[in-house]
Amino acid sequence: MEIAIQLVIAGILQGGLYALAAFGLSLIFGVSNVLNLAHGEFLMLGGLFCFLIFSATGLNPFLIGLMILPFAFFLGYIFDRFLMRPLAGKKEHIRLMSSILVTLGAALCIGDVTSFLAGAEEKGVDYSMPSFFWGDLYISYLRLLAMVMIAGLTVGIHYYLKKTYTGRALRATTQNIRGAMLVGVDTSRIRSVTFGIGSMLASIAGVFYVVLLSISPDMGLTVTIKYLCIIVLGGLGSLIGSLVGGVILGLTESIVSYYNPHWGQTAAFLILVLILLIRPKGLFGK
């Protein structure tokens, strides 16, 4: 029983982490209708800078994560401004094609330059917090903290999208771009801002990665693919969809891995494909 609870907790944490990064990608996909294959690179960069600053200063890694947020936003914003905006307004399948080329090129480029400058080896921040027993359950403060922060962030994003002008304009653009333009939303700017937000979420996820797991310069494409799968699973542009998709994947991985470590990932992809066969537009898609 303790093991079951332990596994569920680990799965939910993993899933929440997935959801955090996946939701950024989902927002971008919803607003600009492009596949951003470079999303994982933003995550990797977030983790890397956290690692570098931590190694130099020894500051609390989560504090560092907070400090690099503006830079992550800026990076995403200019990425959209210079690489994605020229593709807007093209026919749908041409835009899809160009976005694949541009973001794939960018992903290869960022990954390789990073591994050249910072070394190709895996990196992790050695930051630990005490653990405690709750009844028979072994609970790590660090993981608990991560879970609370992810939950907080999710609620925060939810309110940001519902209550602020930018958030509402962003949702309007997702639902109906022409309509949004007609009521005076600057959709080009909203796209860039969305890219900025997406990049911020990725970099926060990167910080969690580097603290709880590890990062390496060539991880980008692999994690991007996983997040793309999650948003397809959940249905695009849906916060709850990303969350549920992420948790389903995280739980599957953690439970199956316990019985056979090799089959965790396989089971996750199997479930993804099965769900898509039953619900082609994802669990929460319309």
Partner: protein, 307 residues
């Protein structure tokens, strides 16, 4: 004019092994393989507009089916046939659920299938030997492989050409432009898409079989890996999707760029390679062959055939 050019190129390629240049010979085999993958991808991706990011699955399934069956003592030709058929059967099976999806959803679901195949081949190690890879009977097969892959490239180009001239090709293009309206005008949309995928898969499956036979050893990341999956698609788009000569030019261009970078730069060749892909995607959304001067030249020599 176009016949003369094609004739000369083909003749040169036919007698090329006589010069006995193993390095270039190997390079050409790889080139043929990528041309074939890009061109066969484009039969579905370029003509019907369904960007199949899972195309490499057909190649990998062909490669593994061939290797496993040949190892059991099945004859070589039957094993080639089995590799092709396995890819075709897979294409038919996945076409029904996959073609309910559109746009990016289709692409991603197809890509998820490749990842699933990669993990399955890794984990079903009692059959596939997992990450240790699959070995087949050894032998030096450079020259026969050269001719087989050249033959397959010629075949896929001829098939593409026949498609662009047929009513089938017309129907494919109508699906790409306005699927619902094509259906209103009697185009059997589902059948057209499935047929396109089957043709596309059969070439990739056969090439996969050849590949195993030639390299003697394969493992999951060699045939299902992310870069392996994305490169042929990037080549087709880079050269010009929906134009027969497009994927050919894209493959030649990208492979030469890669080869040059690998030999010139000790570091950062992947970055430079990525940069090239990025720039082409950004500034030539229709691909190299749709650039005005290139297009004009190709039209003049009669090689610009698009659908």
């Amino acid at each position: 004019m176009n016949r003369i050019i094609l004739g000369i190129v083909l003749l040169f390629l036919l007698i090329f092994p006589v010069f006995n240049l193993p390095y270039l010979n190997t390079f050409l085999i790889i080139l043929f393989m990528y041309i074939l993958l890009a061109e066969s991808y484009d039969i579905l991706g370029g003509y019907t507009g369904y960007i199949n990011m899972g195309h490499i699955a057909f190649f990998g399934i062909g490669a593994y089916t061939f290797g496993l069956l040949w190892n059991t003592g099945l004859s070589l030709y039957l094993s080639f046939l089995a590799g092709t058929l396995a890819a075709v059967v897979f294409a038919i099976l996945i076409s029904f659920p996959l073609f309910r999806l559109q746009g990016a959803y289709f692409s991603l679901a197809a890509f998820a299938l490749v990842k699933l195949m990669e993990h399955l081949t890794l984990n079903l190690s009692s059959i596939t030997h997992g990450s240790d890879g699959l070995k087949v009977l050894e032998g030096n097969r450079m020259i026969p492989m050269y001719y087989l892959s050249l033959l397959l490239v010629v075949a896929v180009v001829v098939v593409s050409f026949l498609i662009t001239r047929s009513r089938f090709g017309l129907a494919m293009a109508s699906v790409r432009e306005e699927e619902e309206i094509a259906f209103d005008f009697g185009v059997p949309v589902q059948r057209i898409k499935t047929t396109a995928m089957v043709i596309s898969a059969s070439f990739a499956g056969l090439m996969g079989s050849f590949y195993t036979w030639y390299t003697i050893f394969i493992n999951p990341s060699m045939v299902f890996g992310t870069e392996m999956a994305l490169m042929p698609i990037a080549m087709a788009m880079l050269g010009g999707s929906g134009v027969i000569i497009g994927p050919v030019i894209g493959a030649v261009f990208l492979l030469i760029v890669e080869e040059t970078l690998w030999t010139r730069f000790a570091y950062l060749h992947t970055a430079a390679y990525g940069l090239v892909i990025l720039l082409v995607g950004l500034f030539m959304p229709g691909g190299l062959v749709r650039l005005r001067p290139v297009r004009r030249f190709l039209i003049r020599v009669g090689l610009f055939k698009e659908l």
